[in-house]
Symmetry: C2
Subunit: 548 residues, 2 copies
């Protein structure tokens, strides 16, 4: 895997490239300039962002599309600016490689008061140890190559971020090619696996209305193909969790929509809650995916496969890996031949109605019709996320969101990462006005790179999720004329859409313009909300005072 | 100090107000909404910012003006977004109180997977323990009041940030008024103090050209008055360090300018380096203040008073506090009556020259003439900071910068905090184009609040400090038309200033307009640089490869 003589910087870049990382996001700074200089000389390309946290969000979006992403930043002011975004990648299981420059090892030894320093030099690594699954400092050339291998292997195995600190005087230092010890592969207990599969097959054969809930871990572990094989062989209807949304193509005839307890659509909720056998595969039981714990998941009708175990009713099969269980089940399950239900023909649309103000419900209805197989939807949090539940993307893995960690400001930079990772796709970026004010100017980088995302701003002049929980003047924010941002950093085509006719015109203009970003400023009433938001708000209100 | 019956939230707000914190910056989020609701009902006012890191920078600027500042944010996505700005406040010794909401204590006990969570709940506090001088979680009502007292006392004593985590179900919980144990006051060793002062007085009496270098700690410890008393009694010329800039009013006849080794002006450097007795008071020997260790500070001609000790030549007086030493010296020193040198009459200005492109040198010359006693200068980092060395502010403490930690993006939000703290002042904000792209849209908040800062953008289309160290395409950034930002979030008056005539007109327009922000986009050549930057760059180049 490794050439025998090369520098630590070269080895790190080579290994990233082997892992599929062809682009590194970030902002230069003096402690990382040597590494940047090295990047200019190889195949890994640098993508400059306006801030370091947006570089981390972009790397997260890239990782979700390509299996791994990376950013390179300077010590202190650079790395510490990424802490929230990297914690988000950890919470959301996205393998992001954080490369931080640092003062040279010799310089550190003298313990000087140098700029960007905020405490003992090791404190930065200690902070990142809490938000990554491996954190290494490449101080010692003898073990640096192995540290790099271990960190990248951990990122891949655990689908979590890792932290690699490279001191300025180690970038061009020669490393020592120690033969890599292959990681012991994780393996299932074969007997437990066989028994769990047999029990599940028997339960399915006896069930009247079996169905499947597909979760985010299937996506992260690359199990989309085997999921489809299982679904099609057993003719199982499928719901997804919100964090798992788009793990199966949403135009697949088996797909029912998103299930998240009381927040679900009536139809998805009915199907799931009346089923007498629920196969939950790769589902994380967090508050968002369970609709703030309103999901009705009676263990007596559950088979739940998590990353390392299968739980059936009240008994457990430990040491059964998710990928092994799904693969074995797809082979062992009884083949059935029932047709999937034919989807109802879509109602003829009456959009646009002249002079009718825009609402979230109508916006989603119209966007649903505009979706095409080349689009990837990237949603920010708040009501655009809840509204996006109703969108049906064409192919799998075409919906990205920070749906569990719910960090505002994710979508614009993650959309940048997704488009760099998938140049054959066009991003549809959904973002609220509050989130846009956090990171929306990263659209400048889309424009600089000649990308052509369609940005839809859900503009209700405030933090609408908070408004539904507990309102006060603190939820009001400045009223930006988002559509005029092209004046500042265009090329960009901006549209103001207060009503349906204006939105229709804007959307058609945006769809036709493939040479620059388009932005549609959709003016919504602060009182408007998606159905899911209304259902959620009641549950959240009780938690403000810790009653939840 | 404390009423006997009140809630933990009320007590925290009351104590902040007693410490001079009348404004709390931040972005609401569900885990902190109860605390926000409480703020609406009392005298402490909430100032909404667009992001959480800018709230922390604003609180830092506020703290530098008022002695303490605060921000309130939600758990995870909010607090972790402030890590860089809070680390900066630590490095720069600014007492910022970080208030973070958190899930309720009862909720945390069940260890649920709830949104904004990224690991064990305690990890957030562990991260902040590395960037604050006290970090408390108000889980237990019995000790909550005392924890608050201890944290605020630590912020004041150490001039560093503190972290206060308030779980959602503790905001309205009644606290227990335990009588506060007064902190043992720090005190000097009286004998050591007397001997150190006597030795210093004797050395000063025998010196031919004694002078003083005033550092940042004098500012942080509120020793400006006693500094002036010492300077005027002993008729000592004074230089400031860059981080200490404006600790003495820069139009004071004793003031010589900034000394930082090879980066200094010729005149300041000559005066300092020929002096036979240098009194260094409250100076931190970091890389910036020493001009990357080019300062010539021979111990044989030094008396150096740090926070807790005085060092004369090669011997130390431990346990002598800075404030005690300066106060005693100001009384004991021999009074002299020499006049301070009369400053040379300013040369008649030939600004503007028609059609002459703007340069940094001419920009600073013109800004220097525009400074008035009501202005507070807030500088970002990079070449605008190095250029600002030459600015002479009128009153003390009217120059704010992240001069040691050097975090890009400091100035715009810190300028917001400074103006909220000092409504009688007008901010002159100096910022590079790269830094503006990080946090410049916080100007929207200035506009929303009706503030009227003058923003001068040093626009050379890239990261110019990096360019001088090691250039590459990664230092080029998108070319924003900053002066058009009013289109997006005005009211704001924008000016494009490619040459001197345009700048003159813009500056006069900005000075006259006191109802909204003014922004002047000064177009500079990417090859232009301040003299200090040119001197610094050579020293930094050697460090990229860790040779420094």
């Amino acid at each position: 895997m490794s050439a025998r003589y090369e520098t630590i910087g070269q080895y790190l870049l080579k290994r990233l490239y082997e892992e599929g990382v062809a682009h590194v996001f970030g902002v230069p700074g003096d402690y990382v300039l040597g590494f940047y200089d090295l990047m200019l000389k190889g195949p890994v390309r640098h993508i400059g962002t306006t801030r370091e946290d947006t570089a981390a969000f972009a790397a997260d979006g890239y990782a979700r599309c390509r299996g791994m992403g990376a950013l390179a930043v300077t010590y202190g002011v650079g790395a510490l600016n990424t802490v929230n975004a990297v914690a988000g990648a950890y919470a959301e299981s996205s393998p992001v490689v954080v490369i931080s420059g640092a003062p040279g090892v010799r310089e550190q030894r003298e313990d000087p008061l140098i700029h960007h320093r905020f405490g003992p030099f090791r404190f930065q690594r200690e902070i990142f140890e809490r938000i990554t699954c491996a954190a290494v400092a490449l101080d010692d050339p003898v073990i640096a190559f192995r540290q790099i291998d271990i960190a990248l292997a951990a990122a891949r195995r655990h689908c979590k971020p890792v932290y690699i600190e490279i001191p300025a005087d180690r970038v061009l230092a020669m490393g020592y090619p120690i033969p890599a010890e292959p990681l012991t592969a994780e393996a299932s207990d074969e007997s437990a696996l066989a028994e769990a599969v047999a029990e599940t097959v028997a339960l399915m054969a006896g069930a009247v209305s079996p169905m499947l809930i597909a979760g985010v871990e299937l996506h992260r572990r690359g199990l989309q193909d085997v999921l489809v094989a299982l679904v099609e062989r057993a003719r199982l209807p499928v719901a997804a969790t919100l964090t798992g949304k788009s793990v199966i193509g949403e135009r697949h005839p088996a797909y029912l929509g998103v299930y998240e307890g009381a927040m679900s659509s009536e139809s998805a909720r009915y199907m799931v809650e009346q089923s007498d056998l629920l196969l939950m595969l790769g589902v994380t039981l967090n508050d968002i995916d369970t609709g703030i714990y309103t999901a009705r998941l009676d263990p007596k009708r559950l088979v739940r496969a998590a990353q390392n175990e299968v739980v059936i009713h009240h008994h457990r099969y430990p040491r059964v890996l998710l990928q092994d269980f799904v693969a074995a089940l797809a082979v062992a399950v009884n083949a059935r031949s029932e047709a999937f239900p034919v989807p109802a023909a879509p109602e003829p649309s009456d959009f646009p109605q002249p002079h009718r103000p825009m609402t979230i419900a109508r916006l989603v209805e119209r966007l649903n019709r505009a979706l095409s197989p080349e689009m990837i939807v990237v949603s920010d949090v708040g009501d655009c996320l809840f509204a996006a539940i109703e969108l049906r993307v064409h192919d799998r893995s075409e919906f990205l969101a920070s749906a569990f960690y719910t960090s505002m400001g994710f979508a614009m930079p993650a959309g940048l990462g997704a488009q760099v990772a998938r140049p054959d796709h066009r991003a549809l970026i959904l973002v609220g006005d509050g989130a846009f004010q956090m990171t929306g100017t990263e659209l400048s980088t889309h424009a600089r790179l000649g990308l052509a995302p369609i940005v839809v701003v859900f503009n209700n002049r405030g933090y609408s999720t908070e408004r539904f929980i507990l309102d006060g003047a603190f939820n009001d924010i400045a009223d930006w004329r988002f559509d005029r941002l092209g004046e500042v950093f265009g090329p960009m085509q901006g549209y103001d859409a207060p009503d349906e006719a204006a939105f229709e015109q804007a959307l058609n203009g945006a769809l036709a313009n493939r040479t620059m970003p388009s932005l549609i400023n959709v003016r919504l009433s602060p009182e408007d909300a998606s159905e899911a938001m209304r259902r959620l708000a009641g549950h959240l209100q009780s938690r403000v005072k810790g009653e939840g």
